[in-house]
Chain length 498, copies 2
């Protein structure tokens, strides 16, 4: 008998359809929607959230969850039940009116942020951002009580189940020990090399788009189940059967849009590769944002910034954009794409300085959430932290604390997953390289097939049937750690790599 | 006390938010969605339909509707309550599992139709189309029992409340008496005139789009609350605060995309002008498809095919597309846009032969719904009917019974509203001309302001607070009739118009 379990499946299916619909509306809001529709879209998203919340707060659920635990379930069903319970804990911890307030405040603040960023107007955004922060703290407190953890850990758990500040502090401390000296050494070393030749633009948007589509296809993006569009902040949205990725174009610089597309394609491959038999069930979803980010960074940083791949991509760029041969050689592109330089903008950062962006945001958001800092003091604290971590000070808030969409949209506790993802990416790529002796040669011919097949088997196709650490253990032999990431940086950027 | 009434408002607000979300997903499906996402989109749309249906089938509603009737309501609230009851009758007549089946079958058949039309494959579409028809009849029977009317009248009532076959038969009989002789006379007369010069293409898609956007702005389209995109079948979708219109481009012929855009802009102006205070309430919605079509045809046929407007538009086209002066003169464009010629494709038809397309579809769909004809016999019956009404026979089903999206998507009983809309458009435009002595001069300078202000006051802003006939009575002094339409055709196309 699996009657209770199947009743749960039907309920979670509906909950997840509503959540998928929300995913489509979010994509539309970022990529298509005219600004005047903000209020009505906000109501649509809030209604979906509230109805989803009502479904998970159905008083019948606790009995069904208890009854299903005694039923004869197979491994995937049992994992699904475990994830149902997790979603139930999160979904019932927060009162429905707070869920609705969060949804509305997040949508309104996200839209206001678009203008505030352009106008460099932190003060103008402050009241809306304060509301979003206060509501996130209130929700975090409710979840902390349910999960028996700290508020920050509770927020973190939404994005990366079972991660904790204690573990992040340990991992980040290892990076903070290693990175400053290493970064200074790399910058010194790169000064001694010939500077990479920067291809000259303009790079027409339409041509960049065509190159992006070509590279997406090479990685394996399924255009029958996805699209590429434009938004202020690149992201991967939609649903596993309709993956919508976005980028933004700069006609003076082709590097960022194209690497951005490859990054989002990594996310897309994960979504698309989730287990087909478990669509719309909790166990069929991506494991968490750390593994999600590992997939985008594995494609972008590990595979596509390798000299192997860039040797193949050079002629693609040259055909598309024209210009001098030297700029498009694999060697030059590799030097260009592995150039290390502290900068203000996280999404434009190289992989050596990127962790500093994340670690400072982690400290700032923890201070804000734990009440150790006022939101009004964020711009100043940001500048100080930037100086401490990267030795530079942004000239304005546009290039400072207003650059990211996360906080305005309500995603507090999300930032650490970027660097945890970078570590996981290095760990997974090292294991893939061990398992696939021809991996370098594959990438050098634009063939992502073997790599994607390996990822499908070891990551994508597992959905949430295992924990992040279990997935990493099975695939790499170790739980999440900094070793592979540090080894990767040393190999790619260390003096010995030349 | 308006406690029951306000409880109803809250419930209908949620129902209509779900319906608006469905509107956005429908637009996305037609304009953006990759084909591989059909099954998952179908489930999303079905879930929204079912959840909306569950809300309207809430056992508390009948008591609330009864209690609200005794409350102290103002006129708009009372009209809203009347419309709530109407939606409740429609929504409760059909069992929820049938609603879900209809939604899924309609989505699947609509997608299959896109391919079937291109492949000229009626036989391939037949099984899916039969399912859609059978489910529509089943739903129509349930509604007929609730509304105490015939099945066809029940289907019609979904699109044009209180319209009936009896009334359509009378109105269409008047047209069938008038049109054949008149059409033959116009064609003869036009043969005696110099043939219009057809501007030579190609007309680049991007330029057509820019011209379309320019004309939309002239009519008054609010781009802060709407967009223009591309789809197989042009339509106006989205929501009143986010109106999404679509068109399709032909680089060899600029006429159809641009008039299509103007047509959909007429729909958009209606949606956008609906009473702001009654958003998401039944009374705040458009009155029905007859009045909706009257607004698109008023803009396209009455205003934008007038010599006044085309004299202003000629230089716009000339600037955009270049080419010989003569082709872009107001006089030539007017002759081009009022050319009468029987053709196979409804959406490309001139306004004199258009009613024949509608009247034959009305007969065919009635025969199918009333069981007087088998669906497998449709292609043959279509050819016969086309010969009878327009004296021509389409060479294939692509240009025959596969041309329209309506039946595959489940919109049976919809077609008559096109011609009822053309009549209403003529009636409203004649009244607007009487009320606005400068209307011709306004259009000749591209100024739609006074016309749109008049329509906002007499049609758009009334929502569903009055019936179609009441709206027409207040605006024009008469209920829906054929007089103004016939007078319009005689003035524009009669020999005396020269």
């Amino acid at each position: 008998m699996t009657k209770a379990y199947h009743a749960l499946e039907a309920r979670f299916r509906r909950i997840n359809v509503l959540s998928d619909i929300g995913g489509m509306l979010h994509w539309d809001m970022a990529a298509m929607m005219p600004d005047g529709a903000t209020a009505s879209r906000s109501e649509q998203l809030a209604t979906l959230e509230v109805m989803g919340n009502e479904l998970i707060n159905d008083p019948a659920l606790p009995d069904l969850l208890a009854a299903a635990a005694d039923e004869n379930l197979n491994d995937w069903q049992r994992a699904n039940l475990f994830e149902m319970r997790r979603e139930w804990v999160h979904g019932t911890a927060v009162p429905v009116d707070l869920v609705e307030k969060q949804s509305r405040a997040g949508t309104a603040c996200e839209v206001a942020w678009r203008t505030a960023r352009v106008d460099n107007d932190f003060a103008g955004l402050l009241p809306k951002l304060q509301t979003v922060l206060d509501l996130s703290i209130e929700a975090g407190q409710a979840k902390a009580a349910a999960l028996n953890c700290s508020v920050y850990d509770a927020l973190l758990d939404q994005y990366d189940p079972m991660m904790s500040c204690a573990r992040i502090d340990t991992l980040f401390a290892e990076l903070e020990t290693f990175l400053p000296g290493f970064t200074a050494g790399v910058i010194d070393h790169q000064k001694s090399e010939p500077a990479p030749v920067r291809p000259q633009g303009p790079f027409p948007v339409e041509v960049q788009k065509q190159v992006g589509l070509y590279l997406m296809a090479a990685v394996g993006f399924d255009f029958d189940n996805g699209r590429l569009d434009v938004s202020h902040h690149p992201f991967c949205g939609g649903t596993p059967d309709d993956v919508r990725i976005t980028t933004r174009y700069d006609e003076d610089d082709f590097t960022s849009a194209i690497m951005g597309v490859l990054h989002e394609t990594g996310h897309a491959m994960y979504e698309r590769g989730l287990p087909l038999d478990w669509r719309l069930q909790p166990v069929g979803k991506a494991r968490g944002m750390t593994l999600h980010e590992s997939q985008s960074l594995l494609v972008e940083m590990q595979a596509c910034r390798s000299q192997d791949f860039l040797t193949w991509a050079g002629p693609v760029f040259k055909n598309a954009f024209g210009g001098a041969d030297g700029a498009w050689s694999g060697d030059n592109l590799h030097r260009l794409y592995t150039r290390v330089e502290p900068g203000f903008i996280r999404v434009d950062a190289d992989e050596v300085t990127y962790p500093a962006h994340v670690m400072m945001r982690y400290r700032l958001e923890r201070a804000l959430i734990e009440g150790d800092m006022k939101l009004a003091d964020l711009p100043g604290a940001w500048r100080e932290m930037m100086q401490k971590f990267l030795g530079i000070t942004p000239p304005d808030d546009r290039t400072g604390c207003l650059q990211d969409i996360h906080w305005p949209s309500g995603a507090w506790g999300y930032f650490p997953t970027y660097t945890l993802g970078a570590m996981s990416a290095a760990q997974l790529f090292a294991a893939a390289r061990d398992a696939l002796p021809d991996l370098g040669a594959n990438l050098a011919s634009g063939d992502f097939g073997p790599l994607m097949a390996w990822l499908l088997r070891h990551v994508h196709g597992l959905g949430s049937s295992l924990s992040t650490d279990e997935i990493l253990m099975q695939a790499t032999g170790k739980p999440l750690g900094t070793d592979a990431f540090i080894a990767h940086l040393e190999t790619r950027y260390g003096a010995k790599s030349g």
